[in-house]
Amino acid sequence: MRIKDTLENYIFVLPAVIIFAIFYIIPFIWVFQLSFFEWDGILPTKIFVGLGNFREILADKIWWQSMWQAGYITLIALTFQNALAFLLAWACDREIRMKNFYRVIFFIPPVLSEVVVGLVWQWILDGNYGLLNNWLVHLGLPDLVHNWLSDPRTALTTVAIVHCWKGFGWGFLIFLAGLQTIPRELYEAARVDGANAWDSFRKITIPLMIPVAVLVAILTILGTMQAFVLIIAMTGGGPAYHTQVPVLRILASMRGSSRFGYACAQGISFGIILVAISFIQYRFSKRARQYQ
């Protein structure tokens, strides 16, 4: 009877396992296998190159430039985007008027299509007929008029800021949920003990929000490092290589150069880097919990 029950349970789990294997495990194994081959994605024959693709990645300057650029966007997202998300969540957690309205408004950007957001911002930032330059002229700041997306000095930062605008809503939502779990009695007790708003924020809100901040940081790093749709829509990775990010390089290897093996090796390398970052973050969050 017990064996029959166990078997029955396994049979019901089987479809999920099959789907998981077909869509996750088998493709992963194929990607791993392909990373040791040179293959154009069409021919039935593949040439075994061993670790050749990985060695090439180590010497691929553009790949590492794209990694650095993704890191730069991530850094801006970690600081500017998350600080903004936290401040807005903190404001909406307090008794302010129309707070529900703000909660909805702040969550609109993340639910919009990245392609649409990219194209709209491209239109706003257009160097010739963009709204931003038009406003700058009307505000008496014609010296600031600029080809925001075509100038290598501003392209990456501009893309990073738009990415932050698009993504801060997720952080806002998680921070808000975290803030709402802090017992109000703690603030009341602190007030009775003579603490002012700043003291309460520093001594209650910040320490209790550390685990939430770590979670948001992990999600921000993983999400931002893999960003590419917005960048394709805004700059296509240009000018030159100035807004290239790792996923765009993987796409370029696969679609532009028809080097599927190299693209897979890039994907594996990038995955390893992301896993390493996540592991470090995990250790960090564990420490933060211990501190709490």
Binding site: I42, N128, S150, R255, S257
Partner: protein, 430 residues
């Protein structure tokens, strides 16, 4: 328990779409995959006519944008489930790989039947793109592997009204490069936008750069460079790179051209906001849709040298291949023959404003389109050169030109970088 399992299995099979009837295929249905959004209504109309004529149903399935289409075709090739007729977007080496993998039917016997009646109906340049000549470096058997549907040429366009505004003769586009640079200075002084093109998508930079390479050093030297016999650091190549710096400095190029996609460039030119455009003959249809009253003309890129003639990219715009593994391949070939016959080609040209591949169909085309057709003799295409440059070199070449335009690198620096990548790729192959 058994009932539960059977019920569960039934639900699963239904969800997975397994249906005995769905496996039965209609032998008289031909499926065509394509990416040409603007041609879908015309294709569907032709499919209706073919059904009425032969009783054979033709399904034109549109997959856009072209990037997504390319991926779909590659994925289908891997799964051996390509449709009866399809097109390939990519370089000649991709085309060759599809043939080597046995996905494409050799159309040579059909082309040559009846004293080459089908072959002779096309413009030679249109067919050349789909041919593999003797001694080709791809190792493909000599033959024709696709039927061209339309032809295209890529050249310069100018807005006649803006020319007038600049005090220029609207019937006299620039004849040489220095004249173009002089107009650039006027454009700059008038705060207008100069040349717009999809240089953010980079292949169009490659196109113009190669036009000038042919003009400055001739075809033989360009092909020798691709074969690795002439370095990109050669003085002629540096001159090609320098032209882009000169265009940028004179004001010929529109601001933001390095990240501009062709759709944006087409909108700017169609709305009269740019003096020049660099675009293919398909633009006639696009501009007509965006601004029917646009007053413009086409001209060859102004020569930078009198050593060799200017050569523009042209030839087959889109072509269809027959799946060699298709059960309907004979029917598919018959349909392709009918589709590329003069009446159908004339209908396509009229309905879509594209240049027909069938030379007997060039009758009723607009004056601007005729300007594109008239330079067909001056056209060439990488797919007819018999050798292909490495993708990594093409990327470095095009991105390098972007760097020159944004003032980040000199032509000499870019030439050195491109040559370094060329040597790396050559070393890999030896």
């Amino acid at each position: 328990m058994l009932t539960k399992i059977l019920l569960f299995a039934f639900c699963l099979l239904n969800l997975s779409g397994f249906h005995p009837q769905s496996t039965a295929k209609n032998a008289t249905t031909i499926t065509v995959w394509h990416w040409m959004t603007d041609r879908q209504p015309a294709f569907q109309e032709l499919a209706k006519r073919y059904l009425a004529l032969t009783g054979i149903k033709v399904n034109f399935e549109l997959y856009a944008p072209s990037d997504a289409y390319s991926q779909k075709v590659r994925a289908a090739a891997q799964g051996f489930n390509l449709p009866d007729i399809f097109g390939i977007l990519g370089e000649k080496r991709d085309f060759a790989s599809f043939i080597k993998a046995g996905h494409i039917l050799d159309l040579t016997p059909y082309m040559d039947a009846n004293l080459g009646q089908w072959r002779n109906s096309f413009f030679a340049k249109a067919l050349a793109v789909n041919e593999f000549a003797a001694g080709n470096t791809y190792g493909i058997k000599v033959g024709v592997y696709a039927a061209p549907i339309d032809v295209m040429t890529i050249q310069m366009l100018y807005n006649k009204d803006l020319f007038r505004q600049l005090g220029l003769n609207p019937d006299h586009p620039p004849q040489d490069f220095s004249e173009l640079l002089d107009i650039g200075k006027k454009i700059k002084a008038e705060h207008l936008q100069g040349l717009v093109s999809g240089w953010g998508e980079i292949w169009m930079i490659d196109c113009l750069a190669n036009n000038y390479a042919f003009n400055i050093m001739g075809k033989d030297k360009v092909l020798a460079t691709i074969r690795g016999e002439v370095p990109y650091t050669d003085v002629d190549w540096i001159r090609v790179f320098s032209l882009f710096r000169d265009m940028q400095e004179s004001g010929v190029l529109a601001g933001g051209i390095v990240t501009m996609v062709n759709k944006t460039a087409e909108q700017l030119f169609a709305n009269g906001k740019a003096v020049f455009a660099f675009n293919g003959s398909w633009c006639v249809n696009v501009y007509k849709g965006m601004n029917p009253s646009l007053n413009y003309g086409a001209f060859l890129p102004p020569e930078a040298s009198d050593k060799f003639p200017m050569s523009i990219w042209g030839g087959a715009g889109s072509s269809f291949m027959v799946n060699a593994r298709s059960k309907n391949k004979e029917e598919a070939v018959k349909f392709l023959k009918w589709l590329t016959d003069k009446d159908q080609e004339a209908y396509l040209a009229e309905a879509t404003n594209n240049l027909p591949a069938n030379k007997e169909s060039v009758k009723k085309i607009s004056p601007v389109l005729a300007e594109f057709a008239s330079v067909m003799d001056a056209s060439t295409h990488p797919n007819v050169w018999g050798v292909s440059e490495f993708s990594a070199v093409i990327e470095a070449f095009d991105k390098g030109i972007q760097s020159i335009i944004i003032g980040e690198k000199t032509p000499e620096q870019v030439a050195a970088e491109v040559q370094k990548i060329k040597e790396r790729e050559l070393a890999k192959r030896h």
